[in-house]
Symmetry: C2
Subunit: 119 residues, 2 copies
């Protein structure tokens, strides 16, 4: 494989809520996403999911509280925990999760992406 | 768990070649390290290893070429591939690898750390 420049990968797409795969190792994948607005509440029964903010401010709404993640910070949503990403303004995120992780977890919504494009 | 600020975690230590654990998910760990100078050639027979540069310029020497990784870039060393990290000046890196990954892989050197401190 080659060296991956994260910002250059972000420059390759502009659609929201559609993660792009930029790396894979040990049955895990590294995804980039641009998001704006509200996602849907969902959970992943068997996978923890890491959200690292590259630009902007990400809120992760849990059922009992709101987690705020700023640029240069990350948060791990444990398996089984319902969560809803919310971006009041455009946010760029890096995700780290198992290859088996479904986009909207235990639900299917209009927003659901079945297979991620590699860029 | 709480939100992790990567720069704040870097501020907590100054020793070189001694990775600190800042997160764990799906049997994988997220480590931070400050490095300067040359490591030793080693390999991990069963684990891919991701090097993401947070500050400075990292060289990964392979047996047949040198990979240069700048700030905001990452590189995945595939399992079984001999590699030697080299930092001509101080470099801050984030590592992503399975919990089972040994510091210096298939060898033991003076530099080897057996268990990583969590910070």
């Amino acid at each position: 494989m080659s060296v991956i420049n994260i910002q250059e990968k972000f420059n390759l797409f502009s659609d929201y809520w559609s993660p792009k795969k930029i790396g894979e190792l040990n049955e895990q994948q590294i995804l980039l996403a641009k998001i704006k607005g509200e996602f849907v509440f969902h959970k992943h029964d068997n996978e923890d999911e890491l959200f690292m903010v590259q630009k902007g401010v990400l809120e992760i709404h849990l059922r009992d509280k709101i987690i705020t993640i700023n640029e240069g910070e990350f948060y791990i949503v444990p398996k089984g925990v319902e969560h809803k990403p919310v971006a009041k303004e455009e946010v760029f995120i890096l995700l780290f999760e198992p290859l088996t992780t479904k986009h909207t977890g235990d639900i299917v919504a209009n927003i659901t992406v079945e297979a991620y494009e590699s860029i």
